[in-house]
Symmetry: C2
């Protein structure tokens, strides 16, 4: 039986896509069958694997708006145990159309239910907003992972986001669990980062992942060569951290 | 006569809010009368100035959804020549309501027309999306400033974003000009950043601002103490860069 994990945050640029790609790859390398679904109109998952518009025929947009079967939108990217569904939104008119269809909040849950048993993990990369698309993801998900940068705006946004998640959960998906808060882009040299991490671990004690993702150049360089970081440099601090996170997530599931 | 500048990018975390606050403050210190309008449901502008929910009665949400006059939503934050309009969105239901009202794309243009002559610059901080709220901003604006981080995802998103802007301009606001592309968070030590900046300056020759904003701790620390960077440390590389940008913008206006 698969677990659907939504990676969401209203704050932009906190490492949602980087986490979706590298956590997904690490779980796949550890033998889990993984499907990465890109819900963000930016289409960063496709960009990460250099899937240009020419080789993408269908994406989540076509499944949601044009009722294409999900199976046709699943792309093989040549990695064992890892498949992706790109967004495939080409312009702003399609984007508005996509958000409007997503007003039916249980749409994605229904779409994913048909293929759930083929995967161990289905990971949803969300856009930086709390609109209809993210609510669709939270309704379809079993668990939620929230990346947080150790910066003021990101910390500030967290409290409000958690309150909203509680409301959305009560209304649309009472079983939704918080998998955890993941600290990303941690730079050990910055005093402010250590202070914010201290605050996070104090205020959100039991829900912050043990694994902290360091700021690491290899993580930002990997998408430029179309790879997850584990395939660029397996021993880099970024790759090691995402492996540890994958193990932490597999172990927490076994404990349940 | 005032100039309305929208600060927009679909990519999250590229420095839209940091630019709105610090460019706005620099223009105000240089004697320009500035209004900062926060269109982003995250409400980062209010967070930047520590305007907690208790001291905000009305915001752009109330103007757009509840038809409150804009004048009631303008907050004085104790800085000469600088006033702000916070977003004031408290939960996800209000957020969906806000985005739905924004389907009328000329709404903001009408709202701002009543107060334009009281300011030299009106700066719009946009959410990280290309949805109805950003289209409202692009319809109301005279000019657009696009912050870009020297990173792969941000560079990749730029081409598509510029194409969409052209389409939106043709349809809703043919006079919309591109003020420029602003390179933000530049870390001189990173080889990949220099390469991306070279690519930006080559592909977008005449539209990249001369001023480049460096990655600078003071810029990230200032919001934590409720201030723009110029009031935390006027001589910091971050404050100096935003002053230069303000001068570049004032001069380009005079040249026109
Ligand atoms: N740990 C890290 N170390 C260094 N760079 C990182 C790290 N994590 C992410 N990045 C870089 O920071 C930027 C933001 O990350 P990413 O795009 O994954 O965030 P996001 O939350 O998905 O953004 P958006 O809100 O636009 O969807 C990217 O350029 C990415 O390459
Ligand atoms: N030049 C800089 N140097 C160091 N830190 C910066 C710089 N510019 C912005 N930051 C920090 O980077 C993070 C992202 O910046 P900011 O929130 O302004 O981006 P944004 O585009 O408004 O994000 P969003 O897409 O969520 O609205 C913030 O924590 C901010 O403090
Ligand atoms: Mg992303
Ligand atoms: Mg912002």
């Amino acid at each position: 039986m698969s677990e659907v994990i939504a990676i969401a945050s209203q704050k932009g640029g906190v490492g949602k896509t980087t986490t979706a790609v590298n956590l997904g790859t690490s779980l796949a390398i550890l033998g889990q069958r993984v499907l990465l679904v890109d819900l963000d109109p930016q289409g960063s998952i496709a960009a990460n694997f250099h899937l240009e518009d020419i080789n993408v025929e269908y994406g989540l947009f076509d499944v949601i708006v044009n009722k294409i079967p999900l199976a046709l939108a699943i792309c093989d990217i040549g990695l064992d145990n890892l498949e992706i569904v790109p967004t495939n939104i080409k312009n702003e008119e399609e984007e508005i159309n996509y958000f409007t269809h997503a007003l039916q909040v249980r749409l994605l849950k229904g779409i994913l239910s048909k293929i759930r048993k083929e995967y161990d993990y289905i990971i949803l990369d969300c856009p930086p907003s709390l609109g209809t698309v993210t609510i669709n993801a939270l309704t379809a998900a079993d668990a939620l992972l929230i990346p947080v940068q150790p910066e003021y705006f990101s910390l500030k946004a967290l409290g409000k986001f958690l309150r909203s998640i509680k409301n959305i959960g009560k209304k649309h998906n009472p079983q939704l669990k918080l998998k955890g808060i993941l600290i990303t882009m941690f730079d050990r040299r910055l005093k402010r980062s250590k202070a914010i991490i201290g605050e996070l671990q104090y205020s959100f004690k039991n829900i912050v992942f043990e694994t902290i993702i360091p700021r690491n150049s290899k993580l930002a360089e990997a998408p430029a060569v179309g790879k997850p970081v584990a395939l660029l440099d397996m021993s880099s601090p970024g790759a090691v951290a995402y492996f540890k996170l994958a193990e932490e997530i597999i172990n927490s599931r076994n404990r349940r």
